[in-house]
């Protein structure tokens, strides 16, 4: 693992919904070019943790640094910070009234301030990277789920983020479409993208993750290289979870 300063350095994150504590003092540090996998039972706070990292969710306590920016400071320009943090959602969330290319172009134009030609060119390049150069002028409804998710990845990477957050990017896909999305993620990783992935794709985690974090009840229970978490977990709960996942 590298020793450059971490891209993400989150400390002591607390998040409550009503009376329910969903994150109970979670720390997460992600080094440059690292791929961190987050696993854990449903409701353990994986999505909430990920969504705190770009402040879609407002933590009640703690600190988050992303690429040196204090994300929770009131002085931080949140919109400027967010373009450095790409996010991919389980439900794709493409803009249905825009073509694939227009989906990618929107933030290039409105956030980065690029002119139309430049944005169109960069959008085309990003869509080419995810293997959808041919489908640029299609609307989301004309694309398969797997293609839509790849457009969503293109929309995020076109902004050249410092880190990409994935929240169950393949969970809404038919099994035969999962591979295409995972391939794109694998290529991203090879290109040196820093990634935090919440997913149940254990084979992908074993093959591609540098580190696996196991969460339970709003806490980081255990973390380590995939071999350790999957083959020799220390905690009984981790063991039970892995066993359960392996049965699928």
């Amino acid at each position: 693992m590298t020793h450059s300063p971490p891209i993400i350095d989150a400390r002591g994150l607390w998040k409550k919904f009503g009376g329910l504590a969903v994150l109970k003092g979670v720390d997460l540090s992600v080094a440059e070019r690292e791929l961190v996998f987050i696993i854990g039972p449903s409701g353990s706070g994986k999505s909430t943790l990920l969504r705190c990292l770009n402040r879609l969710e407002e933590p009640d306590d703690g600190s988050i640094q992303v690429d040196g920016i204090e994300l929770l400071s009131p002085k931080t320009d949140l919109n400027a910070a967010r373009r450095r943090i790409g996010m991919v959602f389980q439900s794709f969330n493409l803009y249905p009234h825009m073509t694939a290319r227009a989906n990618v172009m929107l933030a290039l134009r409105k956030v980065l301030g690029q002119d139309k030609d430049q944005a169109a060119q960069l959008a085309a390049r990003a869509l080419d990277r995810v293997g959808l150069a041919e489908r640029m002028d299609h609307y989301p409804a004309q694309l398969s789920g797997g293609q839509q998710q790849r457009v969503a990845i293109a929309r995020a990477i076109a902004l050249e983020p410092r880190v990409m957050l994935f929240d169950e990017p393949t969970s809404a896909l038919d099994p035969e479409l999962v591979g295409g999305v995972l391939n794109v993620m694998r290529e991203l990783r090879q290109d040196g993208m820093t990634m935090v992935v919440v997913s149940h794709e254990m084979a992908f985690a074993k093959a591609a993750a540098d580190r696996v974090v196991f969460m339970a009840d709003g806490q980081k229970l255990e973390e380590g290289p995939p071999a350790q978490i999957f083959d020799a977990p220390r905690h009984e709960r981790t063991r039970a979870f892995i066993r359960q996942i392996d049965r699928h």
Partner: protein, 226 residues
Amino acid sequence: MDALNSFIFSFFNLKVMAQYLPLVAQGLGLTVVLALLIVVCGLALGLALAVIRSFGLRVLNWAIIFTVDVFRALPPLVIIVLLFFGLPAAGLSISGFAATWLSLTLVLMAFSEEIFWAGITAVPKGQWEAARSTGLSFLQTLRMVVLPQALRITVPPLTNRTIAITKGTALGSVVGVAEILGASQSAMSFSANPSPLTLGAIAYLVLFIPVVALGRWIETRFAWKR
């Protein structure tokens, strides 16, 4: 046959109709102007209120909801009469035209605000999150991601409601506005023959059938594959 003849004489008296056609045509012109003013102002105000409501400022939203509910609850004719007879009592004179315009504008504002608001809230939260996660601001997201989708959802109920409320311009006849119905009624009393009312009905058809057709066209145009 006598009954039929007398019916034709009363309602399809061509001589009377020819004589009062210009008057009713003027009424049609006035109705068009009144309707356009109501549609433009009512929809603009309704959209503005819905956008302000999306900021989620509690006290402001209470005020919006209260205003909107008042104008949705009151019969339009009551508002027209209140403005026309009430404002002069308060020292502000207002023409029948202005009273009709203002009343129906407020009613359309109220109904369209509710429709726009329903459209905005029908756009999935994920659309906001995706846009905000790329660094777009709240207003950019509202304008470029949420409103275009919300407006498409609102087109059918909005056209229906807009047509229903602009037909309310006929209420202006009560406060002396010479729109289609008002003009036809004057013509009817001048001529002592109800045929001008038939003209008036034809004028409404001439005006609103194209509007209804336009509504249908807008609905198909704005529908998009999901």
